[in-house]
């Protein structure tokens, strides 16, 4: 645990010890060298000559630490990586010997010879084979051998298989090998040991983008994992299930996912609901199915649905013209049962306001039309206004709905009365609306029908609602910052022709009720990187996720080191200046490797 000065001073000694004949010292020297390189990367060159004969060791301890040293060097420097590629045949041979050799009591763990060393070699092979066809080909056979011959009854064997699978997925392996790897993961999913299942789900999540079809074959097992007892496994299974949904399996998958939504823990409900909405939007086989699915989500997990889904749903309903009558009827019936789930209530009141005339006229084609009078509808909406369960936002929705009905219903006097009562409401928002509507009745009655007529079909423009953060070029996006309503997501691209430049686009959204003005985003990176910040799209982040501020950052990373960033945000919110600093460390490996 020495400091960098200590490392500089002692590096020479360490280097000498690497060559000593005492294996006890040599293994310790190798790990010291690892630490020195971590602290002072420039000294890596110094250890190069000593590494020449490291792999011809007989002593496992030294061999193991040598592999660690080589791994560290290859991870840090692409030149070293290129230099050590020639060791692949030797590594393959060592691995082969480990598997084929007889029982060695010294290094045996449950019948497997030195699993620690095997795992380490596999990891080094992964780094050497990545993006290199020749190396990948050279290790093809041994990987297949390890994958098929390793004993899977104990954790040890599975640990080796896991590392093997990771290696196969990362290098340029042939498709047969990749399918073998995914099948191993599929078998893991059926394992009794929950750790193994967890590891399998995590790995499948990483590969689902590139080997989608192979992972699809294990879909039913993955869906079964939704019923697992362990929270982490359930979450992984849920994420994976959403990734596997497509046009063909949407009906079946949705059934399972809705069942999951019903019975899962509250912490999952928000994410699951959002996932269901997204999947439904992309693959809905029919409009009726889509509306039914939305209804199901609203009624079972209504209070967990994210606030920004309400406008999206409203837009969806508006655009499904032929389903208006059916939708408003179902929503009305849902309201009769339960008015505690705010998003449901909001969508329902908006629909009743728009399509109340269809409701009372009993025009529904899709199902048996219900008999309901104008007064009953107004009773329900007024009930929302007075109920303790309704939030101020909900009250706003229902008041506006009542007002809209004045042009669709005949009981205008009742509506006038309600509206005038709320002209003296304590809630400022409600009072303002009521006063405006009152004015509409009194002074501008001739304009009322035009103002309150049916909403036209809305175009979904880019600035409507929160933008969907999607994977670009296979590099997953990430959330870099999420505090006080300000959320900043990063999406990535690797620039051509220079692969050392990562182009990051930041997307800033604001979920609070007030907009953020004078928004300035600044970033700093460690010394080995270079940063270029282009101008932002705007300085104002609109409220309630109604828009996004984007800005492009170009990061030059010649040493392919792990990307880290410190960001500083300044903006004015509700009149006061806000400043915050944050570290961003969770960059996906594909953005800098």
């Amino acid at each position: 645990m020495g400091s960098s000065e200590m490392c500089r001073d002692l590096a020479g000694e360490v280097e000498k010890l690497l060559k000593t004949s005492n294996s006890y010292l040599r293994k310790k020297a190798a790990l010291c060298a690892v630490h020195v390189i971590r602290k002072v990367p420039e000294l890596m060159e110094m250890f190069l000559p000593a590494t020449k004969n490291l792999l011809s060791e007989k002593n496992h301890g030294v061999l193991h630490t040598s592999v660690v040293l080589l791994t560290e060097m290859c991870e840090r420097s692409p030149d070293m990586l290129a230099h050590f590629r020639k060791l692949v045949p030797q590594l393959v041979r060592i691995l082969k010997n480990l598997i084929m050799s007889g029982y060695s009591p010294e290094h045996d763990v449950s019948g497997i010879s030195d699993p620690f060393l095997q795992v380490r070699i596999l990891r080094l092979l992964r780094i050497l084979g990545k993006n290199d066809d020749d190396s990948s080909e050279a290790m093809n056979d041994i990987l297949a051998q390890v994958a098929t011959n390793t004993e899977t009854s104990k954790n040890v064997g599975n640990a080796i298989l896991y590392e093997t699978v990771l290696t196969i997925m990362d290098i340029k392996s042939e498709s047969g090998l990749r399918v073998l790897a995914i099948n191993i993961l599929g078998r893991f999913l059926l394992n009794n040991d929950k750790n193994i299942r967890y590891v399998a789900l995590t790995s499948l999540l990483k590969t689902v983008q590139t080997d989608h079809n192979a992972v699809q074959r294990h879909r039913s097992t993955i869906v079964d994992c939704l019923k697992d007892l362990d929270v982490s496994i359930k979450r992984r299974a849920m994420e994976l299930s959403f990734a596997l949904v497509n046009g063909n399996n949407i009906r079946g998958m949705m059934k399972e996912l809705l069942y999951f939504l019903d019975s899962c823990d509250p912490e999952f409900k928000a994410d699951c609901a959002s996932g269901v909405f997204l999947a439904a939007e992309k693959y809905a086989p029919s409009k009726r199915w889509h509306i039914d699915t939305i209804m199901r989500v609203l009624t079972t997990a209504g209070s967990y649905v994210r606030d920004d889904s309400v406008p999206n749903l409203i837009q969806l309903i508006t655009n499904s013209v032929e389903m208006h009558a059916y939708t408003v009827q179902r929503l009305y019936k849902a309201l009769l049962d339960d008015i505690s789930q705010q998003p449901l209530v909001q969508v329902a009141s908006w629909c009743i306001g728009e399509y109340g005339d269809l409701l009372v006229s009993g025009q529904c084609e899709e199902e048996e039309p219900i008999q309901v009078t104008e007064d009953e509808v107004l009773d329900v909406l007024e009930g929302l206004l007075v109920s303790n369960l309704s939030t101020p936002v909900t009250r706003g929705y229902s008041l506006t709905a009542i007002m809209k009905l004045s042009t669709r219903f005949s009981s205008v006097n009742r509506i006038k009365k309600v509206v005038s009562i709320y002209g003296s409401s304590i809630d400022v928002e409600l009072q303002q609306r009521a006063v405006e509507y009152n004015a509409l009745f009194k002074k501008y009655d001739h304009m009322r029908p035009a103002l309150l007529e049916r909403m036209p079909i809305m175009e979904k423009t880019a600035s409507n609602g929160p933008t969907e953060i999607v994977q670009t070029n296979g590099i997953p996006s990430m959330t870099a910052y999420n505090k006080n309503g300000l959320k900043i997501d990063f999406t990535f691209e690797r620039a051509n022709p220079n692969p050392n430049i990562a182009v990051i686009t930041i997307h800033a959204t604001n979920s609070t009720e007030a907009e953020m003005t004078d928004f300035v985003f600044q970033a700093a990176v460690p010394k080995t990187f270079q940063l270029q910040l282009l101008s932002p799209s705007s300085n104002v982040v609109p409220a309630l996720n109604q828009g996004t501020v984007t800005q492009v950052i170009r990061v030059l990373n010649p040493q392919k080191q792990q990307l880290r960033m410190r960001i500083k945000l300044t903006y004015t919110h509700k009149g006061s200046a806000v400043q915050d600093l944050a570290e961003v460390n969770n960059f996906p490996p594909q953005s800098w490797q």
């Binding site: 310790k28 290094h107 640990a159 362990d230």
Partner: protein
């Protein structure tokens, strides 16, 4: 590996080995948070969890929790094997080890750990060799009282 912690079911820390430089304050904070998080886990849950930007691998042996923090690229399953190997080493040395052995002979527990892991990585994969190194260290420590001359 970034660090390893051993603690009892009551949350008392028995052993701590840090492979990254951190201030005492940070160490205490991390220890407190992690101990709380791990102890709150139910027995049916799996041995891995994500915490900050690290992966935590833990396993309970009798009354002690063995908890390691590894990085993203490290293999969780082999870390379980590393924990198991350490327990085996302790067991062989103390002969059917229990928590009391570690409490009263913590310096030996550290010696054994230091012969097995160095800088967060395994330095010796052979059980025999690790135990041999400890034996040799023990011999050096034996002090023979000098015979009193009349």
């Amino acid at each position: 590996m970034q660090f390893m912690l051993l603690f009892s079911r009551q949350g008392k820390l028995r052993l701590q080995k840090w492979y990254v430089p951190l201030s005492d304050k940070e160490k205490k904070k991390i220890t407190r948070e992690l101990v709380q998080t791990v102890l709150a886990r139910k027995p049916k849950m799996c041995s891995f969890l994500e915490w900050r930007d690290l992966k935590i691998v833990y396993k309970r042996y009798a009354s002690l929790y063995f908890c390691c923090a590894i990085e993203d690229q490290d293999n969780e399953l082999i870390t379980l094997e590393i924990i198991h190997r350490y327990v085996e080493l302790l067991d062989k040395y103390f002969g059917s080890v229990c928590e009391l052995d570690i409490i009263f002979n913590f310096e030996k527990a550290y010696f054994i750990l230091d012969e097995f892991l160095l800088g967060g990585e395994a330095q010796e994969t052979s059980k025999k060799n690790v135990l041999k190194a400890i034996e040799q260290a023990d011999l050096l420590q034996e002090v023979r009282p000098a015979p009193l001359k009349p």
